[in-house]
């Protein structure tokens, strides 16, 4: 066998092992799943609200207007006004921006760090694996909200701290997922083949292993996107999240809590916003899991 033949053989092995490109077909398959469809729609609404919220919002989110205080939902204020007369719809729209920002940044940060650590642990194995996973287990042992509370209490409360704290508490989950997948993939023939032709470790991982472990990673990312939003809302509810007067949904819930007997709309709408967003991203995550991991679907 000459060199050219060997290369062709390896290339065909690699092509055979790689999953087919799924971009468009993934979307179609998701759309066919009714629950995933709802998830996609809700998530799309939240994303649109976050992007175009400031343009759509009818009022200034922080402008105080005591004459409008506690106005129930109606023509002027579709979701009513809060204890300082601020329009709740406007604040919900601005809140979507904060929630989405926290979701995207914290999950992205958690994913990148988790990916690197999980890949190192899974690929290198041995002592590196033991040390990295011991640290991950230690972090994972803490309840997420407790660890986030500690981190926010130690550092100054603010959007960056909240996002970092949520990312840190989620790193072990991403790292575990990646490590597990890498352990399976690294023993496969296409990896051996790539190694045999002298591919460097980094390239081998980026070009060959990563595309094959993306599916579980995408599922975990989508699922924890919703969790990140809940943790941010919880921290803001406790006064440790985004500083006032920014309109975080958690802060709005806490503000409205004192008045919910007389003005229930002050808690109903931010509550619905959190619930729907979490539901949307969870449904989307479930749908993605069904599509990307057919084995789980079969088991169900």
């Amino acid at each position: 066998m000459n060199a050219d033949t060997a290369d062709t053989a390896i290339t065909s092995v690699l092509l055979f092992e790689r999953p087919p490109r799924r971009g468009w077909s993934l979307g179609v398959q998701l759309w066919r799943n009714p629950l995933a469809r709802i998830g996609m729609l809700i998530s799309a609404v939240v994303v649109l609200a976050a992007v175009f919220g400031p343009a759509l919002a009818p009022y200034d989110p922080v402008a105080i207007n005591l004459a409008e205080r506690f106005q129930p939902p109606g023509r002027d204020h579709l979701m009513g006004a809060d204890h300082l007369g601020r329009d709740i719809l406007t604040r919900v729209l601005y809140g979507a921006r904060i929630s989405l920002q926290v979701g995207v940044v914290s999950v992205a940060l958690g994913t990148v760090v988790g990916l690197i650590l999980g890949a190192l642990a899974g690929y290198l194995g041995g002592r590196a694996d033991t040390i990295i996973m011991a640290v991950m287990d230690a972090i994972y042992a803490f309840p997420a909200i407790l660890l986030a509370l500690v981190l926010v209490a130690v550092f100054k409360p603010g959007l960056v701290t909240v996002m970092t704290a949520i990312a840190i508490v989620r790193i072990p989950i991403f790292a575990r997922t990646v490590r597990g997948s890498v352990l399976v993939e690294r023993e496969k023939e296409y990896v051996e083949a790539a190694r045999a032709i002298g591919q460097r470790n980094i390239l081998l991982f980026a070009k060959h292993i990563l595309p094959n472990i993306l599916a579980p990673l995408i599922v975990v990312t989508t699922t924890y996107f919703a969790t990140a939003i809940v943790v941010e809302a919880s921290l803001s509810f406790l006064g440790l999240g985004v500083p006032p007067p920014a309109a975080s949904w958690g802060t709005m819930l806490n503000d409205g809590r004192k008045f919910m007997e007389n003005a229930p709309h002050t808690v109903i709408f931010p509550g619905i916003a959190i619930s729907l967003t979490v539901l949307g991203f969870n449904l989307l995550g479930d749908g993605l899991r069904d599509v990307l991991d057919p084995r789980l679907k079969t088991l169900q």
Binding site: A67, F70, P72, G80, H83, P244, E261, F269
Partner: protein
């Protein structure tokens, strides 16, 4: 199945919108100014009266935990609630503001006001059974003056060069070199000058159990949860108290306090949510009484004079004219506070005729321009978590002028330490226990330990006025002096006295013969009324 789930979801959403939309709109917000001092009460119809019954336990929901069991160091609100039931002082003001004896039976003062001789009430016993003597009183004042003990009133008593001398077991003489005018008010500050037994202190100087002379004795302490007190069988007022036991339960959330009162988990509660108080005053609950009352107290907006931007008088004037007390009162207290420029109730002898600076946005902007500060000048507002709403309202007001207010929200311990280090631009302070103008205005000099609570304000003219006010005994002359003090406060925008706080207490129908006092406490400072005569009908 799935489409049914979707239908249910849609139905739920529509239902919640309908529920929210059906909430009746609130009455139009009209700025209200409650009548001076007169308490507003929302009480259910009274049942047929029955005689007082001894015994029973009263549970009270207090809004703050006790931070120190040592009355001589206690400065926080929760401390006062506990101390006043357990410990007592020599003198205290009655409901009219006149000083009357508590542990002192009578007193005499020399013509120059520098010598004060107190005769102690006979046969008053501490909770350990020992009789209160002049020697016990001197021991307390020596302790306050001891720098190592770290007592709150040390700088005040050292400043007036106080000396205590025992004349006989029931007579004590104090000599002072200044402070003749407010001296009795100093002695009245229960939480800083309480006469407790020396055995209250352990070898390290810490108090684990207050051995006082009050109607109740300490029994069980669960920090952060509850403080149980039992009846003092040897109390010096015959037939008092009637209750066997008082449990002070720490419930920091006002909504939870109200619910605890509604369900009967507690018999009494303080500081309920203002929106509910307003509603309860209009439509009383059949199971409990809500009372709102006013005492000399105040919130003030403090600007840091020691660093930019408020080192500049123009910047402070801009805040003074941008700040709208009535709007603040409406937003935070639902109009139930009493806006003022001096922390005294409208009918108090020390409420002086000095017109209040009214908000004027144009003037505020002019002063801001004159200060030369750039638009969006950052201002660090030091706040505790429960002051968030207040901060947001003030932030909105100051943003109209050109300030960009940023919050530094911390816990009470960090608030104290950052405040004392003058690490803030703005903060909100509150004060109670005001019986004399020297207490609130006394902070306006560098010599005061509380100077950080007015932003480190320093003015030679103010120092002279305060020294004169302290040395003067004649009330009419003192009023003239303090009028100039209040005028100078506004002229310099030294600090902004915002409003008198609405004090709220509520008790279930089973609690009888309770009458709120003249301080945020369960007892009258002069040991009459309050819980002394309260009984429980269960």
């Amino acid at each position: 199945m799935k489409s049914q789930g979707i239908r249910i979801l849609v139905l739920l959403l529509v239902a919640s919108w309908v529920i929210a939309a059906c909430t009746p709109p609130p009455a139009p917000a009209a700025p209200t100014q409650p009548a001076a001092q007169a308490p507003a009460t929302a009480a259910p119809k009274a049942a047929a009266p029955t005689g007082p019954k001894a015994g029973g336990t009263l549970t009270f929901a207090m809004k703050e935990d006790v931070t120190s069991l040592d009355p001589l160091k206690a400065i926080q609100y929760g401390d006062i609630r506990l101390n006043i039931l357990v410990a007592q002082q020599l003198v205290a003001p009655d409901r009219t503001g006149k000083f009357v004896g508590v542990l002192a039976e009578s007193w005499e003062t020399s013509a120059d006001g520098k010598t004060w001789t107190f005769k102690l009430r006979p046969n008053v016993k501490f909770h350990n059974g020992q009789v209160v003597t002049a020697d016990d009183v001197k021991w307390i004042f020596d302790r306050i003056l001891d720098e190592k003990a770290g007592c709150a009133m040390r700088s005040t008593y050292a400043g007036i060069k106080l000396q205590a001398e025992v004349l006989d077991p029931s007579t004590i003489r104090f000599t002072i070199q200044s402070g003749m005018g407010p001296f009795l008010s100093y002695l009245s500050l229960l939480n800083r000058t309480a006469i407790i037994h020396r055995d209250s202190y352990d070898a390290e100087g810490k108090v684990t159990k207050i051995i006082g002379t009050g109607p109740f004795m300490m029994d069980e302490v669960k920090p952060g949860q509850s403080y149980t007190l039992v009846k003092n069988p040897n109390y010096w007022k015959a037939g008092e108290p009637l209750l066997d036991r008082v449990v002070l339960k720490v419930i920091t959330d006002p909504v939870v306090r109200l619910n605890a009162l509604r369900t009967g988990e507690v018999d009494m509660a303080e500081d309920l949510p203002m929106s509910d108080v307003k509603k309860l005053l209009a439509n009383p609950d059949p199971n409990f009484t809500v009372q709102i009352y006013y005492i000399n107290s105040g919130e003030r907006l403090v600007m840091n004079h020691t660093r930019p931007p408020f080192k500049d008088k123009n910047a402070r004037m801009a805040v003074q004219y941008a700040f709208d007390r009535n709007q603040y009162n409406e937003a935070i207290f639902f109009g139930l506070g009493q806006v003022h420029n001096q922390p005294f109730t409208p009918d108090n002898v020390w409420r002086l005729d000095v017109p209040m600076v009214m908000p004027d946005l144009k003037k505020a902007r002019d002063y801001f321009k004159a200060s030369g500060l750039p638009e969006g000048t950052p201002v660090k507002f030091l706040l505790m978590a429960n002051q968030k709403d207040r901060g947001e309202v003030i932030q909105a007001m100051l943003s109209q002028v050109g300030f960009k207010v940023e919050f530094d929200i911390v816990d009470s311990a960090a608030w104290n330490s950052k405040g004392q280090a003058l690490d803030y631009d703005l903060l909100l302070g509150t004060m109670t226990g005001i019986f004399d103008p020297d207490r609130p205005y006394g902070y306006l000099t560098k010599a005061s330990g509380g100077n950080w609570l007015v932003g480190g304000y320093d003015s030679p003219k103010m120092n002279e006025l305060l020294a004169a006010g302290r040395a003067e005994v004649d009330v009419a002359k003192r009023k003239q002096i303090y009028k100039q003090v209040v005028e100078l406060v506004q002229e310099d925008a030294a600090t902004i006295y915002v409003l008198g706080l609405p004090w709220v207490e509520a008790w279930r129908n089973t609690v009888k013969d309770y009458r709120p006092g003249t301080s945020p406490a369960l007892m009258m400072m002069d040991a009459s009324d309050g819980l002394n005569k309260t009984w429980i009908d269960k």
